[in-house]
Symmetry: C2
Subunit: 147 residues, 2 copies
């Protein structure tokens, strides 16, 4: 039996990602409830900068799976919120390196706690082994399609 066997009714949620939409929305609500002015999309950019500062916009494109115009505008908005700064690279004047402001750094602790809390709520009752399988599958899907 091949893995090409899909019942039609099961197609949909794979394509439209209802589950991850629900997770993202839940985290957004937590962020709003704390009075923090930040979208999930902006959060996802900050997330990568918290891991490693000074990424170029192109590196942020790759990391967040967004195209260049999307990152341009997200960085625009993050700059307007005073959370990041564009710094022109010395080596290559085409490149903007993105650095966190103090305010941007401060958001890490607060929001990462909310993100973990959100995932715990989302995955309540799911055995660790199943979560692992799920992560693997999503990774394979991503690898199959990113080319």
């Amino acid at each position: 039996m091949s893995n090409n066997q899909f019942k039609r009714g099961e197609l949909y949620s794979f394509i439209t990602g209802k589950a991850s939409t629900a997770i993202a929305r839940r985290l957004q609500k937590k962020i709003n409830a704390r009075g923090i002015n930040l979208t999930i999309e902006q959060w996802s950019v900050l997330y990568h900068l918290w891991k490693k500062e000074g990424l170029s916009q192109q590196e942020l494109c790759n990391a967040t799976f967004r195209d260049k115009p999307s990152i341009t505008r997200l960085v625009d908005n993050l700059e307007r919120l005073n959370l990041v700064k564009r710094v022109a690279s010395d080596n290559d004047r085409r490149i903007n390196l993105i650095y966190l402001t103090k305010q941007g750094q401060k958001l890490e602790e607060q929001t990462m706690m909310m993100a973990e809390e959100t995932l715990n709520e989302a995955l309540k009752g799911v055995p660790v082994e199943q979560i692992d399988v799920c992560k693997q599958v999503l990774q394979v899907v991503y690898d199959n399609l990113k080319s």
Copy 2:
């Protein structure tokens, strides 16, 4: 060991749904390549109408996990493309029932083939058992959060 154990590096893709984004984008490209003027979001609305015509906008909200303004505008655009028609309900004049036009019906065969093809590409090399686990987990996540 509880399932609350997450390494930070694994948080991200669960929240932002990179895999489903990739699937949706792949299907969108197939649709465009065929010269069909239709977004994935519009497709996801049509998908439910192909299963059952005459749904109300509210029912489409529930089915597609979108809010009412989003459905209003998607139906606006689908009507503009001559793919669906709003028909006022006889019983309750608040309700619009959404029906497919002939053109809207015609899209089913073409695009469902592309959707299945896309899923097959996405899940290439993934054993059926793992796909099942994945579907279960995503369903639990969705149920955990939809309340």
